[in-house]
Symmetry: C2
Subunit: 128 residues, 2 copies
DNA sequence: ATAGTGGTTCCAGTAAGGGGAAGGTCAAGG
DNA sequence: CCTTGACCTTCCCCTTACTGGAACCACTAT
């Protein structure tokens, strides 16, 4: 599978995919013509990367998560430990998003959608 | 209020706060000694930036959201429109995080935490 | 054969900061 | 009064995670 298809299916640009190869996140094979030859497994990894990056996980977070996916000889105790750390991070993110969601949707509700300039966004956005 | 306090309260580093001033996200006053003098309102903005950035919103997303907060002459119709776009983004993020959470917590559950190398993470992580 | 599309590498630039130097400022203690 | 230490300032370069563009090679189609 060529990089164009992979780009389409994973949601990453070809540029980004090449970059991810550079830094060792994926290691596609090569065809005799020099083209990268991706397999299904690579698509899954890249799709995951696409999502995780959009959610604010760093490349190194992603590397840790992919290592779980990758390492055939892993001990499940390690997997469990790493996964738990990431789970905690995810839960924090969900909570923060939830708070932002509440604030914004409250705002949307309160805002009559008219031309008055007194939307109550101010009180909620950055509450400590 | 000096930058150190603001850093502590907002969760951003002093460096980042100065950078945000550079790019026009905040405009603290200055004391006669040249120190930045922040007000409560600035803390709220910075706290919000801290959270939003950690969740993968771009600076430009944040700028749009802060514009709502900032613009005293805004029409609530505009506010509502922008807020709705952001709400949709947030909902997507929550859904994606939810999927990652399910996958990982499933993994944590399935993984006995022993030394067997067959953790079932593979099937879930990058499902298209 | 030639155009067009899509692949390759490489080099340079951007975004969003971080590290650290060189120096000014303030409060406390001797 | 002076110094010490913590905190502030600007400036410049470094890093991360890409993005754009040039120059060139490969496959397909007319």
């Amino acid at each position: 599978m060529n990089i164009g298809i992979v780009s389409e299916r994973s949601g990453l640009t070809a540029k980004t995919i090449r970059y991810y190869e550079d830094i060792g996140l994926v290691k596609p094979l090569r065809d005799s013509n020099g083209y990268r030859a991706f397999q299904e497994k690579e698509i899954h990894k890249l799709t995951f990367l696409s999502r995780a990056r959009a959610l604010g996980f760093t490349i190194e977070d992603c590397r840790a998560l992919l290592a779980l996916y990758e390492d055939e000889t892993r001990a499940s105790a390690d997997v469990k430990r790493i996964a738990k750390v990431q789970l905690a991070q995810i839960e924090e993110k969900v909570a923060a998003l939830g708070a932002m969601h509440d604030t914004l949707s409250h705002l949307v509700k309160e805002c009559a959608g008219d031309d008055r300039p007194d939307c109550p966004i101010l009180e909620g956005l950055g509450k400590v």
